[in-house]
């Protein structure tokens, strides 16, 4: 092997986080890949783990969603076109969530219709049966596969909030420390939490 083919000191360079993603798109300006900002609320009510999940798409991404919804290509959306799209979208999101409580998989199902808001937000609600949790702390995790497809900044709203007498969801470690690998995209949504059931 010639000297040039010896391993190079890449490790020093690998610290440049985000380089990989920027490089593959290979363009000098804004990426054509649309990112999605998200906010979530996790709570427990009536033995159900509830997720309120708000997505904020770019205007360009929303135009493409409209293009998808517009089945008859007339440029206008009917109530049935939008309902069909958002129902399928909610189901797709639920299918991409991986949730575990006490090491046991729980499955989110969409609840109700998507609620749009004035700032181009789409809010979905999901619930998953927890069964009868005993008093104490129950570790859990939430991994959002949709954030792998569309990464973006995320915010856990009011983590751990609630009365000490009520069952609540508390962050186990800060979300940024929950990543399983430094190679993971920083905007993937992965949470570790505890469900706290009072005595």
């Amino acid at each position: 092997m010639s000297a040039s083919l010896l391993p190079r000191p890449w490790a020093v360079m690998l610290c440049a986080g985000g380089l990989a993603f920027v490089c593959v798109t290979a363009h000098a300006h804004e990426s054509p890949i649309d990112h999605v900002e998200r906010e979530l609320d996790l709570s427990v009510k009536d033995d159900q783990l509830l997720l309120r999940y708000r997505l904020r798409y770019s205007e360009r991404a929303l135009l493409l969603q409209i293009h998808q919804m517009d089945g008859n290509a007339d440029g206008e959306l009917s109530a049935s076109e939008t309902a069909a799209f958002f129902t399928a979208h909610a189901a797709m999101l639920a299918a991409l969530f991986t949730v575990q409580v006490e090491g046991r998989a729980v499955k989110f199902q969409p609840v109700g219709a998507m609620r749009p808001d004035a700032r181009l937000g789409q809010t979905y609600e999901f619930s998953a049966p927890l069964g009868n949790l005993a008093a104490g702390r129950h570790p859990g995790s939430f991994l959002d596969g949709y954030s792998r497809i569309y990464p973006g900044a995320f915010r856990w709203r009011r983590p751990g909030e609630g009365s000490p007498r009520a069952t609540r969801v508390e962050p186990l470690i800060p979300p940024e420390a929950a990543r399983s690998s430094p190679q993971q995209h920083p905007a993937w949504l992965e949470l570790k939490f505890e469900i706290v059931v009072p005595q």
Binding site: S2, P9, V24, A61, I66, L77, A118
Partner: protein, 622 residues
């Protein structure tokens, strides 16, 4: 939204804002909270507008302006996310609400926030007000100037979706009122607004101002002409060529270029010249102007224009630029060489290269574009001593464009030695576009180096696909047999995107080598890939002009990047096959609206048009 406002109604927010404004206290947080509620908050605010309460009305018009920025959105987005805004802006019933929002237009004194607010929130009454000024013997000139400024911003940002033709017509009507055009300050504001609106209908008025008595008016007029005769959309509209208007403006433009003496005007002349892309008379006029006026800004503007045009005199103009000294003229001339690497420009460029001791970015680009092997010794010498990564990248790209063994050796050596990840990745890209003799072993080594950054390895794999040699094939076989071993996931549940992309490059590279059996793996990896991976995949197919079923999938994608890649791949690989799909996309009202939206479309409409033209030309030849 801050938690403090979450449980507060729009009405409560506005009432509190009114109370704070009336008391002379700041209302920033309340305005933000109102903005979160959208146009609904503005409608409540309109109830509280009062001419006799200027501080309150200023605050409320601030809210109206913020919330009505949504008018730039596509109507179907409004219909879904702000149905009230859809009703106001896109239904006949909305006009009455617009008049409520714009009631301050009739006030004696305008709040400072009113002009921008009415432009955004109330196009119908704003147009009416403009028409009234156009017909009035005593128009409100000061107010008009205040209105034209935000209107210009709105139009320049391509935010006007509904009434662009109405605004063009209203602005044109203003040019017929001597009480407005006779006032220089108003005339200047009007010329700028006409330019922002690209109101070519007012061309005659603008051309008259080429003979105005003040240089400010002449400069504004020629700038305005340049903008209104240029592309009508951010993408460069193909629907309206404006050839007739350009022809009509040409004599007056040439006269001005010949006779004008004020450099402030001549600088604008140099910029406006670029709208006559192919016109030899303009080229001749710019050559004469460049020689006549030793003003650096004028000369730079002419050279910027030259880079975009095809005038037969372009080499002579650039040559004169290369002889210039100081004030940035030479740098722009070198950029023009990079845009038009004409053989007659080589001697001067090479002489400059030889005389230059340190690397010069524009000179590197120019030398690379000329592709002249005589540039190699200097470029290689610079590369050996250069530490700036941006310059190193430029030098590598320049070497790529110079054919021959010497540049091969230089690139191979660089690929061999460099430890700078961005440079190595760029070199791998170069290796995927042109052969680098002796580079195969290095590419194999990089592709299999588990410690190397993933994007470098992806590019190395893709470059190997260009090669037919045994080691390249053997490497791709090894990687293809165990992609999970070579591009691991580090035990994560979700596959990191960089690993996923590296993995899809393996079958793509094999396909590039001619191995049709890789096709199925490409399809399955595309299917499970993220949009970024799918985008990379179809761009790779576009690069090698290879048709594949995933292109059809990409054309049906609801993701912007994938659709963009699909259009490019369809256009490059098999435009005729996808012609019906491409035409359907072009005809889609939603996709068509992207072109005029002001959003970053990455030239999707142009890619669509190019692909369709390629298909139509192909079928015409058959």
């Amino acid at each position: 939204m801050p938690a403090t406002w979450a449980a507060t109604s729009e009405r409560q927010i506005i009432e509190q804002l009114v109370a704070e404004a009336d008391a002379g206290r700041p209302v920033y947080d309340l305005a933000d909270a109102a903005n979160e509620r959208g146009i609904a908050a503005a409608l409540i605010g309109a109830e509280f507008l009062e001419e006799q309460k200027p501080a309150r009305s200023q605050a409320l018009y601030g809210v109206i302006s913020l919330t009505a920025n949504c008018r730039r959105w596509h109507p179907e987005i409004l219909r879904l996310y702000q149905p009230e805004a859809f009703r106001i802006f896109h239904t006949p019933e909305g006009e009455a609400t617009q008049r409520l929002l714009a009631k301050g237009l009739e006030w004696k004194a305008w709040p400072a926030a009113l002009p921008e607010a009415v432009v955004r929130a109330a196009p119908v009454p704003t147009l009416d007000w403009l028409k009234k000024q156009a017909a009035s013997p005593t128009p409100e000139r000061e107010k008009l100037r205040k209105l034209l400024h935000p209107l210009g911003w709105w139009l320049r940002a391509y935010a006007e979706r509904q009434a662009i033709a109405d605004f063009q017509a209203a602005l044109t009507a203003l040019t017929t009122n001597p009480a407005l055009t006779g006032d220089e300050a108003t005339g200047l504001a009007l010329l700028r607004a006409l330019a922002d609106a690209k109101a070519f209908q007012a061309l005659d008025f603008v051309l008259q101002q080429f003979r105005a008595s003040t240089p400010e008016m002449r400069a504004a007029a020629v700038e305005s002409a340049g903008q209104m005769l240029g592309p009508q959309t951010r993408e460069g509209s193909r629907e309206r060529s404006l050839d007739a208007e350009r022809e009509r403006a040409l004599p007056e433009f040439l006269r001005l270029a010949r006779e004008e003496t004020e450099v402030a005007v001549l600088g604008k002349v140099g910029t406006a010249a670029e709208v006559w892309l192919e016109e030899p008379q303009v080229g001749q006029a710019m050559l004469a102007l460049f020689s006549r006026v030793p003003d650096a800004p004028t000369q730079r503007n002419i050279l910027f224009a030259v880079a975009k045009t095809h005038w037969p005199q372009r080499a002579q103009i650039i040559q004169r630029g290369l002889e210039a000294t100081g004030n940035g003229v030479l740098g722009v001339a070198l950029e023009a060489v990079a845009a038009h690497p004409l053989r007659e420009l080589a001697p001067a460029t090479l002489a400059m290269l030889e005389a230059q001791k340190e690397a010069h970015p524009s000179l590197i680009d120019a030398a690379g574009a000329l592709g002249d092997p005589r540039a190699l010794p200097t470029l290689v010498r610079w590369l050996a001593s250069e530490r700036n990564i941006a310059i190193q990248l430029k030098l590598a790209l320049a070497l790529e464009k110079i054919p021959g063994e010497a540049s091969d050796r230089a690139l191979s050596e660089l690929l061999n030695k460099s430890v700078e990840p961005m440079l190595v990745e760029q070199l791998c890209r170069i290796a995927s576009r042109r052969e680098i003799k002796g580079g195969t072993a290095i590419l194999v080594s990089l592709a299999e180096d588990l410690t190397a950054p993933m994007p470098i390895r992806s590019q190395a794999v893709w470059a190997l696909g260009r090669l037919q040699e045994k080691p390249a094939r053997a490497c791709l076989d090894r990687l293809g047999r165990e992609p999970e071993k070579y591009f691991p996931t580090d035990g994560q549940i979700l596959v990191p995107e960089v690993s996923e992309q590296a993995r899809i490059f393996i079958p793509l590279a094999r396909l590039r080598q001619g191995d049709a059996s890789a096709s199925a793996e490409i399809a399955s990896r595309f299917e499970s890939g993220t949009p970024a991976t799918q985008y990379v995949c179809v761009l790779a197919l576009a690069e090698i002009r290879h048709d594949h079923p995933v292109i059809a999938s990409a054309l049906g994608s609801g993701d912007f990047a994938v659709l963009l890649g699909g259009v490019r791949a369809a256009g490059a690989a098999a435009p005729g096959k996808y012609l019906a799909r491409l035409r359907a996309l072009r005809a889609s009202p939603v996709v068509a609206s992207l072109a005029t939206s002001g959003l970053d479309t990455w030239r999707l409409p142009v890619a669509l048009e190019t692909a369709i033209q390629a298909a139509e030309q192909g079928s015409a030849k058959r």
